[in-house]
Every structure is written in structure tokens, then in C-alpha cells.
């Protein structure tokens, strides 16, 4: 190595998040000491974020195949066939650590990053979703974080002109020091025009396009792979700054380029920037890559090779073009038109090495295959989570009235309206939003067709904490159910595994349990995983978040005009519950909010029943047998009924709790695999249900009174519920 620089001390190695063993492996691979640039490259590639070193062993066990899967995990995003020669391209990704440090930019660049993952595969993004977890509303930082994260997501997605159509927002003290910001993008592409990242053709030019490289985000991948401590806010310079307008230009330029015949491979520069994109592209192609870092368009002067390789500046792509001059000229003209940088920074080689130069000076030389092959993979010790006792519903005190408890619950942080959030997101741009935020799943029409995609993100972390396997299965099942409740057929998922420190056996046990549950659910529901992301070390001062394996689900419906929606449609229609109600109060919102008890075993998830009940409900929607449909989840039947009434104007419901159960357990229990539907012809539904072996119970009827009546003499006006439901979040955010 011609460049001699700082001697690599054990302190420098530790600052790069590398263990002694990992450093020993680096010495072996290189046969010498690395320089700082090389150490930086290894540090990024061996970070948890890029290497999946703690999770790989378990992620491999998830089902990833089905006839409709075009591309499973391992690319920038997953790809599924949605028929008619079209493909849906989607992925979810976390930006948790940056969003806690700098909520606006952290969340904004999270959206920017996931958008690039999708359009780098040749898809035009048509919808964004997000799953957010914040600390207790009482925590002094929560309001600031909620405001900043929501504004950041809005700022980026709105400017890009892509609708943000669905999401979830929850609060829990376990996220006080580590919020979660998971962003998902769904795009559409012709099924035969998908672009991949594997480089090919030694001698082909390596092209850098997009925004210039600055000093922002250096070491983001390493930062997000460690726990937080009290100095974490000093890490603000590791957070990237987003420029959505440049990304909009990059999107249009890339899609225009993809319509030509000039690209061999393309990869966005996300975590670990130029390092991971160059290594992954060359590595997948079994090639070497040589780059002259002096040719990288730089925003600042005197940037070092180390900084250029590790910057996480946004809105950049790496492209392998066909070698002819005409291809380069055609590509360059497109990027000139969109006023984006276009620079030939290197070539593919047959050496199998990542060779970095700064002008004539050699500044790094790493054999790629050994670096990738020797990438650490750990079988971390894990302890199964101890089972929680089942809560006997009959020992849980009854409220003074069911509607009084309903009124209390619907104004709690986890059950109240999220309108304050989604009205800040442009959810209508592109003109294809068939189901707006606030339903079970959003629905977005496929342009120029009757077809629609149903989209949702879900997780119930308190279930996962109490019983990881049940909770993992439940998260998958709930997305499946939410998609089913719109009449769409669920096709595949993307997952975002947010957990604490995997070096603690009990945390690793949560991870393993959740994966096991997810695997079972994916198999039972024929609902494979096609992409995903892992975010570990979500701990502050040793305290971990709730285990939060967020699932993003995608389904398809042939005709959006046949979609099922939540709101009651007319008075005097029968209200039918599909599925069995046992009054399961363990881990329910009722038990937590009304009794102050966050405990018990979560409701069991019977996957065969889930499938049977869901397939039955989807059939009812397809045949137009129901007028409204809503899945039953947090808060149970009473909350589901209230939401159906809140979606309508002037309608209510008159229902009677089933005998044999404590009425509050019937109203607020969270048994799974249930839906509420309304119908003109209840008899027909009961008959069909009996024939299909699906439990179905008529519990009452819709009314034109604007009252919700839960049994004799116990009613509340829907307008009262509405004001409680709508007021909590805006009031909370307006308070100071």
C-alpha cells in the first residue's frame, strides 16, 4: 500500500464496532494491516446493518418462495407477480436510530432510502406506508419526536408526489429512548423489466449518478448497529440530510434510463454508501471493481477516501452500463436533462478485488469474495421466553358500563384517531387511492385497470413480548386479515425485525421465537417473505424496546369496485361476527388501559382457523354478500363496532353481548381470526358459514339513531365517541 496512515490501534478497531475476532479475520483476509479506508470498508460491511450477522441464521428459515414470487430476499426489494404482466416491488426498512437523533431528517431520509430501493429495480413507486413507535406520551421528548417524524415523512413523500396511504402509530414507555420509524414503499413494474444489482462484464464502466457526496451520514450503518447511551445526541453528524426534489429527479431519470437498453445492473447507495453498493454489485457478479475516488462528485473540498467510501449522502445510485460509447452518451444525456451528476468513476475487473484509487495513488485493495465469505455469522445463544399465565376473564372486574369503558378506550393514545398524522401525508396524489388511511388496509388502483393493491403494516408488540412465537404469527396473520377485510387476496410480505441487543440471550430468544411464529404463519397462509430489514440494538442504557417484528403485507383485488370497507352503509342491516369469541382479556388493551395490568398470555393464533375464516370472508366480499367488513383487533369487538359507526354518518348499532361470557370480556376481548360484517341477508351468511364450518353469530343490527347500544340500557352517541376519538392526538400535540 503506497499510502501510509494512522496506525490501527485496538481503540480504533473498537470505535469501528469491530470485535477482536472480526479484526483478526480482516488481518487474515488482507495478509497485512488495513489502512483507515480499508478498515472503514470492513467496519461498514461487517456492521449488523449490512451483514445481518446475528439474524442471518434465523432469517434463512423463513419461506420465501411461491409461484407468484419473482424475486425474494437478497435484492434491493422483493418482487411479486400480480398478473397481467405486472409486478409489485416492495420492501420495508427501518430508520430508527437516526430518527431518534434528528426526527425530521431521520424519518425523511428513511422514506428516501426505501423509495430508492424500489425504483432501483425499475418500479415506479405508487404508495408509501410507515410503522411508527414512540415512547410514553408523558415522556418529555415524545411530542417533539412525533411532530418531527411525521413532518419528515410528509416532507419527503409529499414532495416526491407519492401517496402515503397507510401506517400505524403506537405509544409505549419501552420506546422512550428508541423510537421506531419503519418505512415501506410499493412500486409497479412490468414483470419482464425488473433491474437487478449483480454486475456483469469485466471492463464495463461503473457510473455514479445523482446527488453529490458530502460528509453527511458517515458511519450511519455502524452507528445504527450499537446501543444508545447518553452521548447519542452527539452522533447527529451521522444523520443524513434529505433532498426529495433531487430524488424526484433521480427517480424520473432512472426510469427514463431504464426504458433504454443501456443498463446492465443498478444499485442505490443506501447504508454504507459507495462501500456497500460497489461491494455488493461486484460480489454478486463474481467480479472485481476498480474506482478512482477522485472522480466521485463531491459536495465538499478535500474529502478523504475514507469519507468518500463511507458517506451516506442521499439520492445517489451506482450503475453498470453497457461498454459502448453510444450507451454512455445516451445515459449521460438523460442525466444532463434532469440536471444530475453523471460520472464514470471506475470499471469492472477480473481481479475479484475492490481496488480504490485517489487519482494515481492506490488507497485500498480488498479481495471481495473473502471479505463477503468471511463476513461474520453468529449463532447467538438464546433463551426461550417464559410463558405467561392465562388471565381468567371472570376475575377481571367489570366496568360500570360497557359504553363508558368504550368511551375511555377510544380516547387512549393507542386506539384514538390517527387523522392528525395522515392528513399531513398527501394520500391522494396520483389519483388512484381507493381506500384512504383509516381503514383495515389501504387500497391503491393499478393505473389504467380495475385492479387494486391492498396494503397494510401491522405488529402487536405486547403480544410478541409476552409470547414471541404467538406474537410473530399474529403480526403476519393480522396483515393477512386486514388485506382480506378489503376483499383482496394477500400475496406476500416484507418484514422489519426491530429488537434489542442480540448479544443478550433473552433478546435473541424473542427474535428466534418471533421468526418461528412468522414462519408458521407464512406457511399456513401461503404468504411468503420477499424482502425485509433487521434493526437490532434498539436499547438505551440497557433497556430494550418491545420486540417489534413489523409486517408489511401486499394483496391484490381484481376489481376495486368490489372492495370491502369498514363503515356501516345503512340502517337495519344485520351485524354478524365471523369467528369465535371467547372473551380473551390477557394482553388486551382493555386490561392495560382500564385495569392498569399489562400482563397475561396473548390470544392464541390458530392459523388453520385464520385461513378458513378469512377465505370465507373474502368470498362474501367477492360475491357482494356483505355491505361492510372490519377485522377485529386491538380493543376487541366494541372498538371494531365503534369504528364502523364512526365511518358512517348518522348510523349506529344495537347489539347484545353473547351469553355465557362476562359482557366486558365479550366486548373487549381480543380473540383472533375474527371479522365484523354487515349484511342485508343474515340468513344466507349463516347458512354459508355453517356449510363452510366457520363460526358466525348475528349480534344485532345497524340503526339510524346515531347511537351505539351494547346491551339493554347501555348506549352512547356516536358523535360523543367521535369527539373523544378525534380529539386526543391533536390535543396532545397542541399541548406544550
Amino acid at each position: 500500500m503506497s499510502i501510509s496512515n494512522t496506525a490501527i490501534t485496538p481503540e480504533i478497531v473498537a470505535e469501528h464496532g469491530l470485535s477482536e475476532d472480526e479484526y483478526a479475520s480482516i488481518l487474515k483476509i488482507l495478509g497485512r494491516e488495513p489502512n483507515m479506508t480499508e478498515l472503514g470498508v470492513f467496519s461498514a460491511m461487517y456492521s449488523e446493518h449490512c451483514s445481518y450477522k446475528s439474524s442471518k441464521k434465523w432469517l434463512k428459515t423463513l419461506p420465501t418462495e411461491a409461484p407468484h414470487v419473482i424475486q425474494g430476499p437478497g435484492e434491493n426489494a422483493g418482487v411479486i407477480d400480480i398478473g397481467d404482466g405486472e409486478a409489485a416491488v416492495f420492501k420495508i426498512e427501518s430508520h430508527n436510530h437516526p430518527s431518534f437523533i434528528e426526527p425530521y431528517q431521520g424519518a425523511a431520509t428513511g422514506v428516501g432510502g426505501i423509495l430508492r430501493d424500489v425504483f432501483t429495480m425499475g418500479a415506479r413507486p405508487i404508495a408509501n406506508l410507515n410503522a411508527l413507535r414512540f415512547g410514553s406520551p408523558d415522556h418529555p421528548k415524545t411530542r417533539h419526536l412525533v411532530g418531527g417524524v411525521v413532518a419528515g415523512i410528509a416532507g419527503y413523500g409529499n414532495c416526491m408526489g407519492i401517496p402515503t396511504v397507510a401506517g400505524e402509530v403506537n405509544f409505549h414507555p419501552a420506546y422512550n429512548g428508541n423510537i421506531l420509524v419503519n418505512a415501506m414503499t410499493v412500486g409497479l413494474a412490468p414483470a419482464d423489466r425488473i433491474f437487478y444489482s449483480a454486475a456483469a462484464g469485466a471492463g464495463n464502466p461503473v457510473i455514479y449518478v445523482g446527488a453529490k457526496t458530502g460528509r453527511d451520514g458517515i458511519h450511519g450503518a455502524t452507528m445504527s448497529s450499537t446501543e444508545f447511551n447518553e452521548d447519542s445526541e452527539e452522533k447527529r453528524p451521522t444523520v443524513q440530510v434529505g433532498d426529495p426534489f433531487t430524488e424526484k429527479l433521480l427517480l424520473e431519470a432512472c426510469l427514463e434510463l431504464m426504458a433504454t437498453d443501456t443498463i446492465i445492473a443498478i444499485q442505490d447507495m443506501g447504508a454504507a454508501g459507495l462501500t456497500s453498493s460497489a461491494v455488493e454489485m461486484a460480489g454478486k457478479g463474481g467480479l472485481g471493481i476498480e474506482m478512482d475516488l477522485a472522480k466521485v462528485p463531491a459536495r465538499e473540498e478535500n474529502m478523504t477516501p475514507y469519507e468518500l467510501m463511507l458517506s451516506e449522502s442521499q439520492e445517489r445510485m451506482l450503475i453498470i452500463l453497457k461498454p459502448d460509447a453510444a450507451s454512455e452518451a445516451e445515459a449521460r444525456a438523460i442525466f444532463d436533462k434532469w440536471e444530475l451528476d453523471f460520472a464514470v468513476i471506475g470499471t469492472l475487473t477480473t481481479t475479484g478485488h475492490l481496488v480504490l484509487k485517489m487519482g494515481d495513488e492506490l488507497v485500498g485493495d480488498i479481495p471481495i469474495a473473502p471479505m463477503v465469505d468471511e463476513s461474520p455469522e453468529y449463532d447467538r445463544p438464546w433463551e426461550p421466553t417464559a410463558a405467561s399465565a392465562v388471565v381468567d376473564a371472570s376475575t377481571v372486574p367489570a366496568p360500570a358500563s360497557l359504553t363508558g369503558a368504550l368511551k375511555d378506550l377510544i380516547g387512549t393514545p393507542d386506539l384514538c384517531s390517527r387523522r392528525w398524522v395522515w392528513e399531513q401525508y398527501d394520500h391522494l396524489i396520483m389519483g388512484d387511492t381507493a381506500i384512504r388511511p383509516g381503514g383495515d388496509a389501504a387500497m391503491v388502483r393499478v393505473r389504467d385497470s380495475k385492479k387494486g393493491l391492498a396494503l397494510t403494516v401491522d405488529c402487536t408488540p405486547r403480544y410478541v413480548k409476552a409470547a414471541p412465537e404467538t406474537g410473530g404469527a399474529q403480526a403476519v396473520a393480522e396483515t393477512w386479515r386486514n388485506i382480506t377485510a378489503t376483499g383482496a387476496k394477500p400475496l406476500a410480505i416484507t418484514n422489519n425485525m426491530n429488537f434489542g441487543n442480540p448479544q443478550k440471550p433473552q433478546i435473541m430468544g424473542q427474535f428466534v421465537g418471533a421468526i418461528n411464529g412468522m414462519r408458521a404463519a407464512c406457511i399456513a397462509l401461503d404468504y411468503p417473505v420477499v424482502s425485509g430489514n433487521v434493526s437490532l440494538y434498539n436499547e438505551t442504557e440497557g433497556a430494550a424496546i418491545l420486540p417489534t417484528p413489523v409486517i408489511g403485507g401486499v394483496g391484490v383485488i381484481a376489481d376495486i369496485e368490489k372492495r370491502g370497507t369498514v363503515a356501516f352503509k345503512a340502517a337495519d342491516e344485520a351485524i354478524v361476527v365471523i369467528g369465535e369469541t371467547t372473551g380473551w382479556l390477557g394482553q388486551s388493551i382493555y386490561l392495560r388501559e382500564i385495569e392498569g395490568r399489562e400482563e397475561g398470555a396473548p390470544p392464541p393464533v390458530d392459523l388453520a382457523l385464520e385461513k378458513k375464516n378469512g377465505d370465507f370472508v373474502r368470498g362474501l366480499i367477492e360475491t357482494g354478500s356483505v355491505t361492510a367488513c372490519h377485522d377485529v383487533s386491538d380493543g376487541g369487538l366494541a372498538i371494531a363496532l365503534a369504528e364502523m359507526a364512526l365511518g358512517a354518518k348518522g348510523l349506529g348499532a344495537d347489539v347484545t353481548p353473547e351469553g355465557g361470557l362476562p359482557p366486558h370480556a365479550w366486548a373487549f376481548g381480543e380473540d383472533q381470526a375474527r371479522y365484523v360484517v354487515t349484511a342485508k341477508d343474515a340468513e344466507g351468511i349463516l347458512k354459508a358459514a355453517a356449510a363452510a364450518g366457520v363460526p358466525a353469530t348475528v349480534i344485532g343490527k345497524t340503526t339510524g339513531t346515531g347511537e351505539l347500544k351494547l346491551g339493554t340500557g347501555d348506549s352512547i352517541s356516536v358523535s360523543m365517541l367521535r369527539s373523544v376519538f378525534e380529539d386526543w392526538l391533536p390535543d396532545f400535540m397542541a399541548a406544550s
Binding site: 416532507g155 426529495p244 392528513e423 394520500h427
Partner: protein, 213 residues
């Protein structure tokens, strides 16, 4: 917007690029919504100085009808073709929702598809829709019949409750003096298709096509 124009007229609109120096002779020029140049400066301020706007101003001066929607409205106020300015929403947040919109006059080539005083439900989606002008200007444009649309509440009243963004006198859209230029914040192009929402926006496009054919 292009889809809405094509659906109503049967003809795909001609697209121009921001650097074009010449807009061909056309029946109508539309400046659509979006985030021109990212709107990192004041919304619409950069676009108002883009090369194509010089040609737009010349065409407008010669009487070619011009319609600006959302960011297009912001651009047209920045060029001075329309009175007033659009400030940050009073709530300081982006707002995306359906609003009540009252058609102040059907007597224009843009609004002939509606009745006087008709109440529509049309989505807004903007960060800077807070219409502002001095009282003298507001009095003048009201007297001249230059107010095209106002925000109204669910009872059809121009109340504070019906005003999503703090706009002066609930103004959602204004004409120039000759009513050949119209700018407004709501998005009628997102209210034309019964499969995904209501069709209250269709009247605008159908009325325009009738007036221009």
C-alpha cells in the same frame, strides 16, 4: 391533471419542459400541482422565474386562458398574474383532506360547468395554501367578482371551521381582472373518478371543454 384534461377533452395535453422558451399556440395553459424545484424557497418562487414562464406570461397577456392548481396557483401569484400570495398554512402543517368548496360564480370559462353558489367536496393537499392580500386588494377583487371559490364548512357557510389553512375571507381561488387566468388550491383532478372518490371535480373540466370548443 393530464389524465383529467384528456378524459374531458378526448385529447392528450401537450407537455412543455421548464426550460422551453416558447409555448405553442394552445387553447388553454395549465400549471399543475407539485413541488417545483422542491419549493425549498417560497413555494412557486423559483418556478416563476423559469424560462417557460416568460412565454406563459406573454400568452396570458394576449388572452390565452391560464389555470394554475395548487403549486400552479402559487406560481401564478409569484409571477404577478394573479393578486395576493400564498403563505404557510395557519396550522403550520401540510393538509390533505376533502374540503367544502363554494363556487362563487359560474360566469367564467373555467366555472361554467357549475351553478352559482354550488357546494363541492374537493381534496386539498398543500403546505402553503393560506391566501393573503391586503384589505384593499381583497375588497377590490371581491367587488370585481374575482373570487372563484371559497372554503365552506359542512353547512355551506364561509366560517372559520370551514377554512383549512387560514386563507383571508376563506378564499380558495381567484381570477385575474379579465377572468382569463384562474388559480386555486384544491385538486379537482383528484375528484373525477367514481371508482376512487366523488366526481365533484368533473364540472370544472367539462365546463372548460365546453367553453373552449
Amino acid at each position: 391533471m393530464a389524465i383529467a384534461l384528456e378524459q374531458a377533452s378526448g385529447k392528450a395535453p401537450l407537455m412543455v419542459w421548464h426550460k422551453d422558451s416558447e409555448i405553442p399556440d394552445v387553447d388553454l395553459i395549465v400549471v399543475p400541482g407539485g413541488f417545483s424545484y422542491g419549493d425549498y424557497l417560497r413555494a412557486g418562487a423559483m418556478a416563476a422565474h423559469s424560462p417557460v414562464l416568460r412565454s406563459l406570461k406573454e400568452k396570458a397577456a394576449k388572452g390565452t386562458p391560464v389555470m394554475g392548481v395548487c403549486n400552479g396557483f402559487q406560481v401564478l401569484t409569484e409571477t404577478g398574474l394573479l393578486p395576493g400570495v400564498l403563505m404557510r398554512n395557519a396550522g403550520l402543517k401540510f393538509i390533505c383532506r376533502n374540503v367544502g368548496l363554494k363556487v362563487e360564480t359560474s360566469q367564467s370559462l373555467f366555472t361554467g360547468g357549475y351553478e352559482d353558489g354550488q357546494i363541492l367536496s374537493i381534496p386539498v393537499a398543500h403546505n402553503d395554501g393560506n391566501y393573503f392580500a391586503g384589505n384593499e386588494t381583497l375588497d377590490r377583487i371581491e367587488q370585481n367578482g374575482q373570487v372563484a371559490f371559497r372554503y365552506v364548512d359542512e353547512n355551506g357557510e364561509t366560517s372559520a371551521a370551514g377554512n383549512p389553512n387560514g386563507s383571508a375571507r376563506n378564499i380558495a381561488g381567484v381570477f385575474n381582472k379579465d377572468k382569463t387566468v384562474l388559480g386555486f388550491m384544491p385538486h379537482p383532478e383528484n375528484a373525477i373518478d367514481p371508482a376512487v372518490g366523488n366526481t365533484d371535480g368533473r364540472g370544472l373540466f367539462d365546463g372548460l371543454v365546453r367553453a373552449l370548443s
